[in-house]
């Protein structure tokens, strides 16, 4: 056999000649260290053969394209591609759920804010608003409608298998949020906006890495879409009931919309996440892990609350710049409590699955 894998036509391997081949082989072996150990053990030697066979004479370093291709394979293997370990498959499952849930949550949140803002603007067509230049009005409408379209578009695209579009939109939303944060916030590290940016960055990374071309398709996309519709219904119903009970009919529309946004952006979503994580923990640790991961960047708002509390500004403890108009301003507490509940659910679920795995049949 020759190096083309064909019988009867033996030929030379150019890269074999001299010490250069040894140097190149050593560098290829170092490059293969990017791969998970189990995969390297299974595939490493044949990959070395393939790489050396394809190397032109005199080459001493792996090419950038080879390195990029191998790094991409290593990343795919770590998030659930065929050939990866059970742990890698689980990581892929967690990251795909993190990305989809995050896109849905942020889509609903920004969607509600956008719709409410546009409705209120329409109902209160003031003189000032009519006097706004068309370009200002257009950019204002765009900033209210584009983020939810991006989030929900990415959610649907990833769910139905349009991965390139979904990944593009998931990365684009992080760029959009990052741009908005740098324009509006001078104290990035300890701000609510930074937490939102960190969540959107996490979603972009999770979507970009876990929805690779070799990742399994999401099972039963219809169930996700039905759940999304159900979640929207719950949020609207709770907000509606709350608005009916707490506000007189004479309340201004602006105030009403803001208060409902406060409920949606306040305790409701964290409570739903904690309950769902607890309910799914009985079956597997995947959902508690996904929700815990998604909420982790939200903890960035906790230090700020602690600092404000330490400064004696008790009335501001639960009020950050982003949630300052919330009726129930307790976001650091909600996020912290949710993360604690989800961490406990994850620990319990992992303990249960380990016990099941090591149980001796009677």
């Amino acid at each position: 056999m020759n190096k083309n894998g064909e019988a009867g036509m033996d030929d030379e391997r150019p890269a074999d000649i001299g010490a250069g081949a040894d140097v190149l082989e050593a560098r290829y072996r170092r490059m293969l260290m990017l791969l998970p150990a189990a995969y390297r053990e299974h595939r490493g030697e044949e990959m070395i053969s393939t790489l050396l066979d394809g190397a032109p004479e005199g080459r001493r370093w792996p090419s950038v394209a080879e390195l990029a291709s191998l790094a991409a394979l290593a990343m795919r293997l770590r998030v659930g591609a065929q050939g990866g370990t059970r742990r890698a498959i689980a990581v892929g499952e967690v990251l795909r759920r993190t990305a989809l849930t995050g896109l849905l949550a942020l889509g609903l949140w920004t969607g509600w804010n956008g719709v409410a803002s546009l409705v209120v603007a329409w109902l209160n067509r003031s003189y000032e608003m009519r006097a706004l230049p068309a370009s200002t009005l257009a950019s204002w409408i765009a900033s209210d409608t584009l983020p939810p379209l991006d989030y929900l578009g990415a959610f649907v695209a990833l769910l139905v298998g349009w991965r390139r579009l979904g990944r593009f939109l998931a990365v684009a939303q992080a760029g959009f949020i990052g741009f908005a944060v740098t324009r509006h916030d001078s104290f990035l590290v300890l701000s609510d906006r930074m937490a939102v940016f960190a969540v959107s960055l996490l979603i972009a990374v999770a979507a970009g890495s876990a929805f690779h071309r070799e990742a399994p398709r999401m099972p039963v996309p219809r169930r996700w879409l039905i759940s999304a519709a159900g979640l929207t219904g719950i949020i609207l119903a709770v907000s509606g009931v709350y608005a009916a009970l707490a506000f007189p009919p004479s309340a201004p529309d602006v105030q009403l919309a803001e208060e409902i946004a406060g409920v949606v952006g306040g305790p409701l979503v964290p409570v739903l996440a904690a309950l769902f994580g607890l309910a799914r923990a009985r079956r597997s640790p995947i959902w508690p892990a996904a929700l815990l991961t998604l909420g982790a960047p939200g903890l960035l708002i906790v230090p700020r609350a602690v600092i404000i509390y330490a400064q004696g500004k008790y009335e501001n403890v639960f009020v950050g710049d982003l949630f300052s108009r919330s009726l129930w301003p307790g976001m650091p507490v909600y996020v912290l409590a949710t993360e604690v509940v989800l961490a406990a659910a994850l620990g319990w679920s992992l303990y249960r699955s380990r016990r099941r795995a090591t149980a001796v049949p009677a």
Binding site: G5, E46, A65, S69, Q82, E214
Partner: protein, 121 residues
């Protein structure tokens, strides 16, 4: 993976293994030859595809050989893989035939094998 989501690279890998089992570099060379040098498989792409196609039962490891101190693992097309490739080839040929016929109807002159003497339509 269903038919419509198999990429051109995967199609070429399956085609490269129709006539005989090949090892990794053999597949890279054959794919380059089949595509007139337009598709140059990189090692990460190749082994990602081999893992997936082996997992789906379209390819199977054939044998291992040691040559010059190096391991060469050969892959062969399974019956299931041949059936999947035949399905893909039929679908692509049907699409190509439609495209060619419509281009001729429009009066577009087709280069190469699809030209006046070609028989794709």
């Amino acid at each position: 993976m269903n038919t419509s989501t198999r990429t051109e690279q995967v199609f070429l890998i399956l085609t490269a293994l129709v006539d005989q089992p090949r090892h990794g570099y053999g597949i890279v060379q054959e794919v380059a030859r089949l595509s007139n040098g337009q598709t140059q498989l990189k090692v990460g792409t190749l082994y990602g595809a081999l893992d997936r196609l082996t997992g789906e039962g379209l390819l199977a490891p054939d044998r291992d050989e040691i040559e010059g101190g190096r391991l060469r693992r050969y892959y062969r097309l399974t019956e299931q893989g041949a059936a999947a490739l035949a399905e893909d080839a039929e679908r692509l040929a049907a699409h190509a035939a439609v495209a060619t016929r419509r281009l001729r109807d429009r009066g577009v002159s087709l280069p190469g094998k699809l030209g006046p003497a070609g028989g794709a339509a």
